[in-house]
């Protein structure tokens, strides 16, 4: 359903941007020669473009991610630059100080890398495999659920609720993540289920 519209056309419509003037290379002449001369090579040449949405606030700015490698072709892809999507009706290519630095979020040193566990009372993180982590969590869930599940209330009404485990959902996950999370969490009877809407 993608209906392509010229980005340049949009930039002209954008008015104050003025970037779409018919200057071509802003007085530099042909780009190829420029690359060979005193100017720093254009760093986005030969990168793959992917359209995405800024994960921060609710303006929902369109972004273009530039990567080395193309995951759509099954290649390993690494983002090297992120810039506003000039086609986007809301942000028209602009980004705020957070959006303009999204690359540093993707590549943050403090990103989580491996499943880790901190055993109670210890002072360290230990790495463990996904299987081990998920099996342990599922086991903890079941033990608590079986011990504390409330099938009927004091009046004998079927209530099927589980109050001793809770789930805080996020604010920036996709609708699809949200829907699947909803299904799984509700099927267990968890009621202490909330999201980040208020904070």
């Amino acid at each position: 359903m993608n209906i392509p519209v010229s980005r340049r056309a949009f930039m002209r419509a954008g008015g104050a941007g003025v970037a779409g003037t018919a200057l071509g290379a802003f007085g530099f002449g042909a780009a190829e020669q420029a690359l060979a001369a005193t100017i720093r090579p254009f760093k986005l040449a030969r990168l793959t473009e992917t359209r995405n949405t800024c994960p921060y606030c609710s303006v929902g700015c369109g972004i273009i991610m530039y990567s080395k490698g193309d995951i759509k072709k099954g290649e390993k892809a690494e983002i090297t630059h992120i810039e506003g999507d000039s086609d986007h009706p809301t942000n028209k290519g602009t980004l705020c100080p957070k959006g303009a630095a999204l690359l540093d979020f993707v590549n943050a040193e403090t990103r989580t890398k491996y499943p880790m566990v901190r055993e109670g009372g210890t002072n360290e993180w230990k790495r463990l495999s996904w299987d081990e982590a998920l099996d342990r969590i599922a086991r903890l869930m079941k033990a608590d659920r079986d011990a504390n599940f409330i099938a009927k209330n004091k009046d004998g009404l079927t209530v099927n609720r589980w109050l001793s485990t809770g789930f805080l959902a996020a604010s920036a996950t996709t609708n699809e993540t949200a829907m699947l999370t909803y299904k799984v969490v509700r099927s267990t009877g968890i009621l202490a289920f909330d999201n980040q809407a208020r904070v």
Binding site: V5, R51, I71, E78, L140, G166, T174
Partner: protein, 812 residues
């Protein structure tokens, strides 16, 4: 938002009150500048601080935090007294003429039915006078003293400009300037947009703050218009979506509600939710509730949801309290009633109030599971980070799992922005290291849980086992599959009752619109308000057509807007009783004698005659509510209540502390401070350089605002001998922080009820993880109390003390 980011440019007056759009939503703010520079629109900012929004405003008025209702009711009084009312709109499109039952009343800050011991109302008297025809009685002349309009006039009488100044600290001349500017938009060809955010929600009366502005917008005739509306600037990229899909304790997707202990059976559940019209000929759209509910149950439980088992009604948990919101969850945890907790991309030790309580609560869990792309403070609540997070790990028994997740760049799917646009995005990077998507993690947890129950049995395994899982690879559902499921599809053929050879709906096809959903189990839809987002025509959320005929700002072919691709909600109200736009230059839709058409999808049936069917289709009355029956916990009208921690007593009801209907847990009231001990009015907020607690992990943003600070006026600095750039300690009844001081002209003391009120501004962004300097979370100080209706924490108004200190925290 009732309107959209791209509609702001159409306004005549932007009122930023209860928000700070320039800083929190810079790219959305371009519409404000465009309206100002191209059509001469004015920007007014009302805020305790002179913000970056104020820096480009035409007019700025200071206000004490937590007093917006007094200000807005004062504006309503001004409009009524100066005849700045869009009368035709008010008479036809609001409940001004509805008669309220005898017995309802209001006095000294309380409505009838208050029970102090429960901090709650018996709302039985808050209802209309019903006629013998079963409909609400009205008086179109507005003469009846019991009609809503006259009750409103009486209710706002106390909010004179003098009283507004006394409560809010806004000088009378400034209040009157703003009131006059707002009132001018009562002209049918003028519109004001209200842009608000947490500055209104994060109060113990947050819902009423917003309701108050909505009432004013109805009186001015600004709802449904291009350039008008109530525009909630949501804080996160998909918090609209998560709320739409119902990830809250008491919700089902699409703003349906879970059954409660008061719904003993399926029939009772239905009867309390299928609302019949209260005025003749009105839509009352929730009449369709069961179509959406049954379609949801078919998505949830598939073939296991049958007519015979009431579509698996008992598979859903029933809720026994109004909500198990985050505050209640932490209260339970703190009381030792919670054993396990999951945080999916949520960092509550930074974002929930009263950090000391949150931290102690987490330490009482058996297990905590954190799924996040970043190393959060919550996952490390047990670590010792010196002054920033003192801890003795050996004493903390909680088992903590940290599961690394992908971030947006490695993830595909849709997000809903404030404009209600569902926008699809694509993955561009390979997930680094062992990161996995949240979808994969949730699928894996369910798979394991299901296997355990199948093998071992246990408590009520039925719902877990019956969960509908129609994905090609059950281990790894794909976003597109789930998106199709949210939209919904036909479960069984539906034939035309008049012509059995004709299929109305064909099994397996994607639903085109929610209007065709059914309550007999023949259709499924995960989230009815999203139906239309992924149809037989494809993924409408991925549309990228930038055409916008006549530059209305609708962009109807860009992505998909819920509901039904409608870009402006209540757009029927943009036209008069004959169906003609109030302002031809602002046309959205128009009645041509037979049908509605225009730039947007009408929100009433295309053939509904304008003089018969009123615009506010979700209300049983068909009209907007200036007074509301028992739907708000804290009153049919907004009332000025002070914050729970306030520098002054409530001038209109000195005996009432805070919102009398707000829930306060035992132990929390005891740690509310008083002005005697904590003399300064504090407010927390965000800075444009940072996003919550994420961007402190980013090198660039850490550079742009590196270090935790608080902001105070030059006057307070002089009084307390605080130098700008020096260290201060700020403390409340609940905690203490050390910060740099920014002494500024942008914050000025206010005079409230004859008393000088100093304001202390506290940005929220620092913690003990990330690239920025370590700092204290503002939530060390904030009170553990929420809004009476939806439990949004009161982060915007509380009390602190402040003193200069010689040096900052010891950094380990």
């Amino acid at each position: 938002m009732t309107n959209s980011w791209t509609d702001i440019k159409n306004t005549d007056l932007v009122l930023i009150m209860g928000g700070n759009a320039a800083e929190a939503h810079p790219c959305g703010f371009k519409g404000v500048i465009e309206a100002r520079n191209t059509r001469g629109a004015k920007l007014i900012v009302v805020d305790p601080r002179f913000t970056r929004s104020a820096s480009v405003a035409d007019y700025y008025a200071p206000i004490r935090q937590g007093t917006d209702i007094a200000f807005l009711l004062g504006v309503i009084k001004y409009c009524v007294e100066n005849n700045k009312v869009q009368w035709e709109y008010v008479k036809n499109y609001t409940n001004a003429s509805c008669i309220v039952k005898e017995g309802y009343g209001y006095q000294d800050g309380l409505f009838t039915g208050y029970d102090e011991s429960k901090r709650d109302y018996n709302r039985g008297s808050w209802s209309y006078e019903m006629g013998e025809d079963g409909f609400v009685k009205v008086d179109d002349t507005l003469a009846d003293p019991r009609c809503v309009w006259n009750l409103l006039k009486a209710h706002v009488a106390i909010y004179t400009p003098e009283m507004v100044e006394r409560i809010t600290g806004t000088p009378k001349d400034k209040f009157l300037y703003v009131a006059k500017a707002i009132a001018e938009t009562s002209a049918p060809d003028k519109a004001m947009t209200s842009m608000y955010a947490l500055g209104w929600t994060q109060h113990s009366k947050g819902s009423q703050n917003i309701r108050c502005m909505a009432m004013l917008q109805l009186i001015l005739g600004n709802m449904g218009l291009r350039g008008g509306g109530m525009n909630a600037l949501r804080g996160h990229s998909n918090i609209q979506g998560l709320t739409d899909i119902g990830l809250m304790s008491n919700l089902l997707p699409g703003y349906m509600t879970l059954p409660t202990d008061g719904d003993p059976d399926f029939a009772t559940y239905a009867s309390k939710r299928v609302f019949k019209p209260m005025r003749p000929g009105q839509v009352s759209f929730w009449q369709n509730y069961m179509k959406f509910f049954v379609s949801f149950q078919k998505t949830m439980f598939g073939a296991a949801a049958t007519k015979d088992n009431n579509f698996a009604f008992d598979y859903l948990p029933k809720i026994d309290v109004p909500s198990y919101d985050m505050l209640r969850a932490f209260e339970m945890m703190h009381n030792g009633q919670m054993n396990g907790y999951f945080c999916q991309g949520f960092n509550p030790i930074q974002s929930a109030p009263n950090k000391a309580k949150i931290k102690a609560a987490l330490g009482k869990l058996k297990f905590l599971v954190v799924m996040d792309p970043l190393k959060t403070e919550t996952a490390r609540f047990w670590e010792d980070h010196g002054e920033f997070n003192p801890s003795t790990p050996a004493d903390v028994k909680t088992e903590v799992f940290e599961l690394p997740t992908t971030c947006f760049a490695e993830d595909e799917g849709s997000l809903v922005n404030s404009s209600r646009w569902l926008q699809w995005h694509w993955a561009g990077a390979t997930p680094p290291n062992e990161t996995k998507s949240d979808v994969w993690i949730m699928a894996q947890l369910w798979k394991r849980l299901k296997a355990l129950y199948e093998k071992e049995g246990g408590a009520f395994p039925d719902a877990i086992k019956a969960l509908n899982w129609p994905y090609k690879n059950p281990d790894d559902p794909q976003p597109e599959e789930i998106a199709r499921e949210m939209n919904g599809s036909v479960v069984e053929d539906v034939v035309d009752p008049n012509d059995p050879t004709k299929k109305l709906l064909e099994k397996g096809k994607q639903m085109a619109a929610f209007a065709a959903l059914r309550d007999d189990g023949s259709t499924a839809a995960g989230c009815w308000i999203y139906t239309g987002c992924f149809t037989e025509a494809g993924n409408m959320m991925a549309r990228r057509d930038t055409s916008d005929p006549d530059n209305t700002g609708a962009y109807s072919k860009w992505a998909f807007a819920w509901p039904a691709n409608r870009r402006i909600l209540y757009n029927r109200a943009s036209a008069d009783m004959a169906g003609k736009p109030w302002d031809p230059k602002r046309k959205i839709i128009e009645w041509d004698g037979a049908k509605w058409s225009g730039y947007d999808v009408p929100d009433i049936a295309p053939t509904a005659a304008p003089d018969k069917v009123m615009p506010f289709i979700m209300c049983e009355e068909g009209v907007g509510r200036l007074w509301v029956r028992g739907l708000m916990k804290d009153g049919p009208f907004p009332v000025h209540y002070e914050p729970f921690e306030s520098p002054i007593d409530n001038p209109i009801a000195p005996k009432i502390r805070g919102n009398p209907a707000a829930r306060v847990f035992k132990g929390d009231m005891e740690v509310f401070g008083t002005a005697k001990d904590y003399p300064y009015a504090a407010v927390t907020y965000r800075l444009t350089e940072h996003f919550h607690y994420w961007t402190k992990h980013n090198a660039v943003n850490a550079t742009l605002q590196p270090e935790f600070f608080v902001e105070i006026s030059e006057q307070l600095a002089a009084e307390k001998k605080i130098t700008s750039g020096g260290w201060v300690r700020v403390w409340s009844m609940r905690g203490s922080v050390k910060a740099k001081a920014v002494v500024t002209k942008r914050i000025k003391p206010l005079i409230c009820d004859g008393k000088t009120v100093h304001i202390v501004g506290i940005p929220i962004h620092w913690g003990f993880m990330g690239a920025a300097k370590k700092g204290f979370g503002a939530n060390n100080l904030t009170p553990f109390v929420g809004d009476a209706n939806i439990e949004t924490p009161e982060f915007k108004a509380f009390l602190v003390d402040v003193e200069p200190i010689a040096s900052g925290p010891v950094v380990s």
